[in-house]
Symmetry: C2
Subunit: 689 residues, 2 copies
C-alpha cells in the first residue's frame, strides 16, 4: 500500500505534467504564420529531429554497453540482492527519463519558435507569452520526470524488498544515467551548435558578406537547430543531471540516518515543493510595461520566496527534530538552513554572473573599450574578466559548503544543492525561453517579415541573453555543489571517515585531478574548431557548386549541413567523453579509493573555476561585441567591432561547449565513482597493493 505522502507527491507531479501538457497544447493551437514561416520552421524542426535521431542511435549503443558494464562489474553474486542488475536498470531509466524530458523540450521549442514570431506581429507581450510558456513546458516536464523516475524506481524496488541502504545505493544508477545523457547533450550539442554558428558565420558573414540568418546561407538552418540542440536540450540534460544526482547524493547519505518515509525521501520532497511553488509562480507571470528582464527575474524571486516559506513550514514535520550523522547531532531546522543557504547562494551566483556578462555593467564595457587597441587587448581583458568573475561564486560556494555542513553535516551539502535547484522549473523556463526568442528572430529575418517583428523579437532575445547568464551561473553553481554532494555520498558509502590530505597518493590525486578540467577544455575547444572546419568546407562547396545561390534563385541544401554538423559533433565528443567517464574508473582501479577522492576534489576545485571563467569570458566577449553593435565605440563594421568579433568567436566555444561541459565533467566523474564503489572495493588499488 502506498503511503499517503507518496500519493500527494504523485499528485503534485501529475498536476505539473498535466499543466505542461495543456500549456503545450495551447501553444500548438496558435497560428504558425505564412507558408514561408511554416517552411522554415519545418526545416528547423526537421534538422533538430535529424540530430536527435542520429544522437539517439549512438546513445542507445552507449546505454547498452555501459549498462552491461555496470551489470558485469557491479553484480555481487554473494549478496542476494543482485545490485548490479538494479543499478543497471536505474541507469537505463535515468537515461530514458532524461532523453524524454529533452525530447519534449526540443519538441515544444521547435513548435513555439515560429508561433512566437507570429505572435510578435501583434505585440511584444503576446510573443513573450508564447516563448515563456514554451519554456515552462520544458521546466515542468523536466523536473517532474526527474522526480517521477526516481519515485517509481523507489516504489518498485521497495516492492522487491530492498533494504533502505541498498535501495538508495542502487538508485544512484539513475543519476548516472541522467548525467551520461547530459554528457552527450552538453558536449555533443555544444560542439554542434558552435560548429554551425562559427562555420556558417565565417563563410556567410565574413567571406560572402551576407547578413546573419540569411536564408542563402546553407548553414543557417543548422545554426537555428543548434540553438535548440545546445541551449534547450543541452542545458536541460545538464540540469536534469544536477537534479537527479543531488537527489541521489542526499538519498544515499539520508538512508543511513533516517528510517521514517518522510525523512528518507525528504530530498525528493524538496523538489516536489519546488514544483508546486513554481506552478503557483507561473500563474503570476505577466509581462508588465514590456520589462521582460524584470518580469523574468521577478518570477525567480517569487518562486524562491515560496519555496523558502513552504519548506520552513514542512521541514520540521517531515524530518525528526534531531538526527545524528557520524556521532554529531543536527536538527531539522538545521537541515532547512542548509537548503536555504543553497537557495540564496544560487540566486547570488546568478546575479554575479549577470553582473560580469551583461553589457550594462562596467566589466563588459571595459572589454569593449579594450577592443579599441585591437584584438589582443580584447582577448586579454576578456580572459582576465573570466578569471575575476570566478572569485565571488567560488567564495559563495565555499561559504555554502561550510555553513550547510555546519547545520547538517555532509547531508547538508546535498541539501544545499537541492535548495539551489528547488526553483529549477522557473529557472529552466527562463533558460529555454531564450533560444525560442532567438529562433523567432531568425525566422522573422528569413521570412522577410516587417522590421517591427524583428525588433520585437530582438527585445525578447536581449532579455533572454541577460537571464541566460543567470541560468548559466545557476548551472555551474549547482553542478559544483552537486559534485561535492556526490563526493560526500561517495565517501560515506565507501565507509571512509577521514581522508588524509598529507597522504602522498591523495596529494598526487589532487594534482592529477586539478589538471583534468584543463585537458577537457583543450579537447573541447579544439573539437569545436574541427567541427567548424567541416561546416566551412561544406558551405564553401555549396556556394561554389549551386548555381544562382548568391542571387537567391536557388536553394541551398540545408539538410547536408545539419547532417555534417551532427556527424562531426558526435565524432568529436568521443575523446572528451571517454576522458570524463574512464579517468575516475582507471584511477580508482589503479590507485584505490583514497587516491580517487583526491582526484575528484582536484578536478572539482579547478573545474569550478575554469567552468565559471570560460563561460563568463565567452559571455562577456559576446556582449562586448553586442555593445559595440548597439552603436558604441564606432559601431558595427568599425575596427573596434572587428577586434571584438575575434573575442566573440573565441568565446563561442568557451561559453557554450567547454565551460558548460565542465559542469558535466565534475558531476559525472563523481557519480561514476559513487556507482562503481563495489568495483573499487573489490579491484581498486591494483598498483599500490
Amino acid at each position: 500500500m502506498l503511503d499517503q505522502l507518496l500519493i500527494i507527491v504523485f499528485g503534485v507531479i501529475l498536476v505539473s505534467l498535466v499543466t505542461a501538457y495543456l500549456i503545450g497544447k495551447n501553444i500548438a493551437k496558435q497560428s504558425d504564420g505564412t507558408p514561408k514561416m511554416k517552411e522554415i520552421a519545418e526545416a528547423i524542426r526537421e534538422g533538430a529531429r535529424a540530430f536527435l535521431y542520429r544522437e539517439y542511435k549512438i546513445i542507445a549503443i552507449f546505454i547498452i554497453i555501459f549498462s552491461l558494464l555496470i551489470y558485469f562489474f557491479l553484480d555481487t553474486p554473494s549478496t542476494p540482492t543482485n545490485e548490479g542488475l538494479f543499478i543497471a536498470i536505474s541507469f537505463v531509466v535515468g537515461a530514458l527519463a532524461s532523453l524524454l524530458a529533452g525530447f519534449i523540450g526540443m519538441k515544444i521549442a521547435t513548435i513555439s519558435n515560429v508561433r512566437t514570431t507570429e505572435a510578435a506581429k501583434h505585440s511584444i507581450s503576446k510573443a513573450f507569452k508564447v516563448a515563456f510558456n514554451s519554456g515552462s513546458v520544458m521546466g515542468l516536464s523536466l523536473v517532474s520526470f526527474a522526480v517521477l523516475g526516481l519515485l517509481i524506481l523507489y516504489v518498485v524496488y521497495t516492492y522487491f524488498g530492498l533494504s533502505n541502504e541498498i535501495l538508495m545505493e542502487v538508485l544512484t544508477g539513475y543519476g548516472l544515467g541522467g548525467s551520461s545523457i547530459a554528457l552527450f547533450c552538453r558536449v555533443g550539442g555544444g560542439i554542434y551548435t558552435k560548429a554551425a554558428d562559427v562555420g556558417g558565420d565565417l563563410v556567410g558573414k565574413v567571406e560572402k558578406g551576407i547578413p546573419e540568418d540569411d536564408p542563402r546561407n546553407p548553414a543557417v538552418i543548422a545554426d537555428n537547430v543548434g540553438d535548440n540542440v545546445g541551449d534547450v536540450a543541452g542545458m536541460g540534460a545538464d540540469l536534469f543531471g544536477s537534479c537527479a544526482e543531488s537527489t541521489c547524493a542526499a538519498l544515499v547519505i539520508g538512508a543511513i540516518v533516517f528510517s521514517s518515509l518522510s525523512g528518507l525521501i525528504y530530498p525528493i520532497l524538496i523538489s516536489v515543493v519546488g514544483i508546486a511553488a513554481c506552478l503557483i509562480t507561473l500563474l503570476t507571470v505577466r509581462l508588465r510595461k514590456e520589462n521582460v528582464e524584470g518580469t523574468l527575474k521577478q518570477a525567480l524571486v517569487v518562486s524562491s520566496v515560496l519555496v523558502a516559506g513552504a519548506l520552513y513550514y514542512f521541514t520540521p514535520k517531515w524530518l525528526p527534530s534531531t538526527f545524528e550523522i557520524s556521532g554529531v547531532s543536527y536538527t531539522a531546522m538545521g537541515a532547512y538552513y542548509a537548503v536555504l543557504c543553497g537557495l540564496v547562494a544560487g540566486l547570488l551566483i546568478g546575479l554575479i554572473t549577470e553582473y560580469f556578462t551583461s553589457y550594462k555593467n562596467k566589466p563588459v564595457q571595459q572589454v569593449a573599450e579594450s577592443s579599441k587597441t585591437g584584438a589582443s587587448t580584447n582577448i586579454i581583458y576578456g580572459l582576465a574578466l573570466g578569471y575575476e568573475s570566478a572569485v565571488m561564486p567560488l567564495i559563495l560556494i565555499a561559504v555554502t559548503v561550510f555553513v550547510s555542513f555546519y547545520f547538517a553535516g555532509p547531508y547538508g551539502i546535498a541539501l544545499a544543492a537541492l535548495g539551489m535547484l528547488s526553483t529549477l522549473v522557473i529557472g529552466l523556463a527562463i533558460d529555454a525561453y531564450g533560444p525560442v526568442a532567438d529562433n523567432a528572430g531568425g525566422i522573422a529575418e528569413m521570412s522577410a517579415l516587417p522590421s517591427i517583428v524583428r525588433k520585437r523579437t530582438d527585445v525578447l532575445d536581449a532579455a533572454g541573453n541577460t537571464t541566460a547568464a543567470i541560468g548559466k551561473g545557476f548551472a555551474i553553481g549547482s553542478a559544483t555543489l552537486t559534485a561535492l554532494a556526490l563526493f560526500f555520498a561517495f565517501v560515506t558509502a565507501s565507509g571512509l571517515t577521514t581522508i588524509d590530505l598529507l597522504s602522498p597518493i591523495v596529494l598526487a590525486g589532487i594534482l592529477v585531478g586539478g589538471m583534468l578540467p584543463f585537458i577537457f577544455a583543450a579537447l573541447t575547444l579544439k573539437a569545436v574548431g574541427r567541427a567548424a572546419y567541416s561546416i566551412i568546407d561544406e558551405v564553401r562547396h555549396q556556394f561554389k557548386s549551386i548555381k544562382g545561390l548568391m542571387e537567391g534563385k536557388a536553394k541551398p541544401d540545408y539538410a547536408r549541413c545539419v547532417d555534417i554538423a551532427t556527424k562531426a559533433s558526435l565524432k568529436q565528443m568521443i575523446v572528451p567523453g571517454i576522458l570524463v567517464i574512464f579517468s575516475p574508473l582507471i584511477f580508482g582501479w589503479l590507485f584505490g579509493i583514497e587516491a580517487l577522492s583526491g582526484l575528484l576534489i582536484g578536478a572539482l576545485s579547478s573545474g569550478a573555476v575554469l567552468a565559471t571563467s570560460l563561460s563568463n569570458s565567452g559571455g562577456a566577449w559576446d556582449n562586448a561585441k553586442k555593445y559595440i553593435e548597439a552603436g558604441h565605440l564606432g559601431g558595427k563594421g568599425s575596427d573596434v567591432h572587428k577586434a571584438a568579433v575575434v573575442g566573440d568567436t573565441v568565446g563561442d566555444g568557451c561559453k557554450d561547449c567547454s565551460g558548460p561541459g565542465l559542469n558535466v565533467l565534475m558531476k559525472l566523474m563523481a557519480i561514476v565513482s559513487l556507482v562503481f564503489i563495489p568495483f573499487f572495493i573489490k579491484y581498486g588499488g591494483l598498483l599500490l597493493g
Copy 2:
C-alpha cells in the same frame, strides 16, 4: 670550531665565487666595439641601473616594514630565544643575498651584451663564449650566495646556542626574504619588460611602421632593459627563491630527524655538490659545429649525471643508513632516490616544455596553421595547447610526490625539489645566456653593423629561445615541488599529523585557494595592459613633440620611457603582491591552520596547471609567429602573420608575467604560512573559535 665538512663546503663556495669573478673580469677586459655600440650599451646599462635603484628604494621600505611585522608578530617573549628577532634577521639576509645575486647577474649581463655583439663580428663561437660565460657568472654567484647566506646564518645562530629545531625554524625567514624579492623581480620585472615591449611595438611597429629595435623608437632602450630586468633578474630571483626555500623546507623537516651535522645540513650539501658538478661541467662546454642548442643541452645532461653520480657516492656517507620520520623507517639510499627522482623529473619537464613551445614540433606548427583562418582560431589553438601542455608535467610532479614520499616521507619531497634544482648553476647559465644574446642582436641592429653580425647573434638568440623553454619548465616544476615541500614543512612544524579532506573548512579552503591563481592571473594580465598604455602614450607623445625624430635627425628621450615603465610596473605590482602575501595571513588568522592548509593545496593544485598553461600558451604563440616569420604560410606581413601577431601579443603577458608570477605565488604563500606559524597558533581561527 668549525667542522671539517663545513670548511670543505665553504671551500667549494669560495672556488665558485672566485671562478665567477675571474670569468667576469675576463669578459670585462674584452672590447666593447665602436663608439656607437658603447653608447647604446651604456644607455641600456643606465636604464637597468635606473630601474634597479628605483626598485631598491621600494624594496627597502618593504623590507623594513615586513621585518618589523615579523618581529612584532612572531616574537615570543615567553621563550628566551627571541624567535621573531632571529626570523627578521634571516629575512633581511635572505632578501639582501637575493638582491646581491640579482645585481651581479644584471651587471654582468649588461656588460656582456655589447661584448657579445663585438665578438660576433669575428665568429659565432666567440660570441657564444661571451654570452654563455656571462650566464655562468650569474649561475655561479646566485647559487653560491643562496647557500652561503644560509650557511653563515647557520654558523652564527649555532654560535648563539639555538637548538637545532628552533634554528631551522628561524632560518625559514631566509627563504621568505628570497621569495619576497622574487615577487618584486618576477612580477614587477615582468610587468616592466612586457609593458616596454608591447607598448614600444604597438606604436613603433604598428603605427609608425619602423622595424623592431629601431633606435628612433623612444621605448627601444626600455625594451632592452626589460630583457635584463625580467629575464635575468626576474628568473634569477625566482630560482634563488626556489633554491633557498626548498633548502629551508628540507632543513625544517630534517631538524626533527637528524642529529649529526652532515645529516642536518644534507640539504645544503646537495646544493654544494651541485655547484661542484656544475663547475666541472663548465670546463667541458665548447661550441661544436655551431650547434648551440645541442651544446647547451649537453651541459645540462653532463651536470645531471655528475650530480647523480656524486650523490650516489656521498649520500650513504652523510646520512645515517636508516632514519625515522613519524614512526616510519627510511634509508639513506631512499633519500638519494628522492633526490634522483626530482633531478630526472626536472629534465623531463624541461624537455616536454620545449616540445610544446618550439616551432620545430607539431603543436606550435598547428597553432601557426590555425592562424590561416584568423586571429580567433590562433587564440583558440594557443589556449588549448597551453592546457594540453600541462598534462605531462603535472603527472610527472604527481609521480615525483608519490615516489619521493615513498622513499623518504615528507623529507623526500623537499629532497626531490633540491634534486631538481641541483644543476641550477648550469640551468641559470643557459637561462641568462638568452637575454644577453637577444640584447646583442638589438645592439647590432641599433649600431647598424653588417648584417652578418645580426645573423650570428640571431643564431645564438634562436637557441636561447628554445633552451629558455627548458628553463621555464624547470622553474615551474621546481616551484611546484618547492611549494609542496614548504607545505609539508608547514604541516610538520605546526604539529599536524593529518588534515582531513572531509572537514568542511579544509574543503572550503581548497575551493577558495583554487581560485586565487586565477585572480592573480587576471590582475597581472591587466597590469601589463595598463603599464603598456602609459608607455604607448609617452612614445606617441615623443613622436609628436620631438621634431626630426622620424627622420633620424633628433634623438628620443629614452630615459623618460625607462622611468615611466619603471614607475608603472612598480605601481601595478602592489595589488597582486598584497594578494599573495596577505591572503594566507588573513585566511589563517580567520579560519586557522587546517583551513590554511586547504588554501595552500588548492592554490598549488590550480596554480601549477595555470602557470604551466599560461607560460606555454605564451611561448607557443610567440614561436608560431616566428615560424611564420621564418617564411612559412605566407611569411611576414601576410594575413596569417597578422593573425599570429594577435596571439603573440596576448601571450607576452602570459608567458613573462602572469605565468612565472604564479611560481612565486605558490612558493610565497607557502613560506609565509610556514614562517607565521607562531602567529597562527596564537591568533589563528578567529572566526571558528
